[in-house]
């Protein structure tokens, strides 16, 4: 499925409205989107514009208010900062890993749970959804304790079965994978909810028809279920990707970006730029850059998905 609004031959949209219907429907569909646009403009529009504005100015908090217009100077400076490169690389690794891993797990678990007549389904579901309500702050704190090399439960358990414990968050080589692992533990549940809902609302007819025609489970899954699930999966992927690129809470608690800079993400760096180095202009510029990257990735992703699932 594609980005809403880009299809020329939509396969599930309403038949092109007649001209008379268009005149009638025109105010209706506009009216429907207005509340959303209004709310967004009000709360997010202003900060967006503000961020854009300060990114073009020299705005160092310690030097009083917003300074001179400097055009793209901040952008240039930011791109050349070493920490920024490291953060960008880390963010990319984190995002790709998390999206792929969590989506795969969520899809797998959703499919398993969706089987009719599954005993204990309620129990499994209840357990698998618990991480939803655990605050990132708590997740970080608890996992930090569990991963403590000396006094933590994970290493204690490993030692118990004869394996050596690791300095999970203390080594540059294991820090990022560990962060990814913790993130997966926490965020898979959310994707699970979305995909499960998607599976639930799939129309049953095509599946029935295919079964009657003699298709086996795998064929049904790959040619019918998956394509029909695609819009939902795309949305889940996008949402997770965008959120992953803004990861900040978890990093702050688990590692503070360390060791060294091995787990610093862009969002973390932006926070440091703005609140520690007190250079709001550069923080704004970095944010706009992040926004552009996410935007680009979103567009690429939806285009790719459209090509794969054209039916």
């Amino acid at each position: 499925m594609s980005i809403p609004g880009t299809e020329s031959q939509p396969n599930t949209a309403v038949n092109p409205p007649s001209r008379r219907a268009t005149r009638v429907l025109f105010p209706f569909r506009i009216k429907m989107v207005l509340p959303t646009i209004f709310a967004l403009l009000l709360i997010v529009g202003y900060p967006l514009v503000y961020s854009l504005w300060i990114s073009l100015h020299d705005y160092d908090l310690t030097e009083g208010g917003i300074g001179d217009f400097v055009g793209l100077f901040n952008f240039g400076k930011v791109i050349r900062l070493d920490p920024f490169h490291t953060a960008a690389k880390n963010t990319a690794v984190l995002t790709v890993s998390v999206v792929v891993i969590e989506l795969a797990f969520a899809l797998g678990l959703a499919l398993l749970l969706n089987q009719p007549g599954l005993r204990f389904k309620n129990v499994y579901l209840a357990i698998l959804l618990i991480p939803l309500l655990v605050s990132p702050v708590a997740v970080g704190l608890i996992w930090r304790l569990l991963l403590h090399p000396d006094l933590g439960a994970i290493n204690w358990a490993l030692n118990g079965i004869g394996l050596p414990g690791q300095e999970w968050l203390g080594q540059q080589s294991t820090a990022m994978p560990t962060v990814i692992g913790v993130d997966a533990w926490h965020e898979t549940s959310l994707l699970l909810v979305i995909i499960l809902a998607g599976l639930t609302s799939l129309p049953k007819d095509p599946i029935e028809a295919a079964t009657v025609d003699g298709a086996n489970r795998w064929q049904i899954f790959s040619t019918i279920t998956l394509p029909l699930l695609a819009p939902v999966m795309l949305v889940a992927m996008l949402i997770r990707m965008i959120a992953a690129m803004k990861t900040y809470d978890l990093i702050y608690i688990l590692t503070s970006g360390g060791p060294g800079s091995s787990t610093e993400t862009i969002s973390f760096r932006i926070w440091k730029l703005g609140f520690t180095a007190l250079d709001m202009g550069k923080a704004g510029a970095a944010s706009i850059l992040l926004l552009l990257v996410i935007l680009a990735m979103t567009m690429i992703l939806t285009r790719v998905m459209k090509i794969d699932f054209e039916s």
Partner: protein, 296 residues
């Protein structure tokens, strides 16, 4: 058309009629159990630590400790966490409901009529592409204005409703996008049928499409609720003592005398309680599965 119940039997040969689960079923249970265990163990650790003294967290092998309710007494008696729990709860629910109400309208419009085309959809999602850190100062500037309403000066800071409105704007893009996906997968024949029966566009949306898309609405609602429940940065900056929410309250347990791990665990357990309700809601409406989606 065969009734859906037997369609299921045809589609999923999961148990042989001779009784006893199939291999596939066993594997399913194994995998699900394993996954559940991975989720559950840290949770159990948290619960166990919530009943111990502060340093219990650092003694993983200590099973025979004497449990104490001190941590719970502390957070509910001394620190009044029930207030913050309540704040978190009503704000999350209000946000979810409002997001669904406003967002579903927009999603429907975009899904069915391609309103605004690509630019609008991207723009809506685009508002979420800025990290919260960047939005903090301008949002604070916006919120700290004191409003003059009918001659009474009200401050927007430290008010739960301010947070609801702010969270609404964070949730809307995601809610809209989730629902677009769901609305698109509903066959348009349903609305055609309604139109033939004389329903107005809004009626067909309200009375026909919405009920059918309940799973999607639930998913989006849960999403909005969860996002709001766990949000930290804006709650920190925009709330004070009155409207403080749980994540901020949790962070206040990271004192300079060390993280009050026992209390943190107790508070985390308290925060997990709504999961019981949430799961029930999800079970009931999301996973019932078979009854929805049938057209004729």
């Amino acid at each position: 058309m065969q009734p859906t119940a037997s369609a299921t039997h045809v589609v999923n040969k999961t148990s042989s009629k001779r009784g006893g689960p199939s291999l596939g079923r066993i594997a399913t249970h194994l995998i699900l159990s394993f996954a559940s265990l991975i989720i559950l163990l840290p949770v159990l650790w948290t619960m166990r630590t919530s009943f111990g003294s502060p340093d219990l967290a650092y003694r993983p092998g200590d099973f025979w400790f004497s449990p104490t309710a001190d941590n719970y007494r502390k957070i509910f008696g001394e620190l009044k966490f029930q207030n913050y729990l309540w704040n978190s709860l009503w704000i999350a629910v209000a946000t979810a409901v409002a997001s669904l109400a406003i967002g579903s309208l927009a999603s429907y419009s975009i899904a069915r009529f391609r309103t605004g085309g690509t630019p609008l959809s991207l723009a809506i999602l685009g508002t979420q592409m800025l990290p919260p850190v960047t939005l903090v100062i301008p949002l604070y500037l916006l919120v700290r204005q004191r409003l003059d309403v009918l001659g009474i000066e009200i401050s927007l800071l430290d008010k739960g409703w301010t947070l609801v409105v702010v969270y609404l704007s964070f949730n809307l893009p995601f809610v809209v996008w989730i629902l677009i996906g769901f609305f698109q997968s509903i066959p348009p024949e349903i609305e055609e049928a309604a139109k033939v029966d004389g329903a107005s566009p809004f009626q067909s949306f309200w009375q026909i499409v919405l009920p059918v898309s309940l799973p999607g609405l639930l998913a989006a609602g849960v999403f909005a609720f969860v996002l709001s429940w766990n949000e930290f940065l804006f709650a920190l900056i925009l709330t004070g003592r009155e409207s403080r929410t749980m994540p901020v309250a949790l962070s206040s347990l990271m004192t300079s005398q060390g993280n009050q791990v026992g209390a943190i665990c107790a508070a985390t357990v308290a925060m997990m309680l709504p999961i019981v309700v949430l799961t029930w809601v999800i079970q009931r409406f999301l996973v019932r599965g078979l009854t929805f989606g049938a057209v004729k």
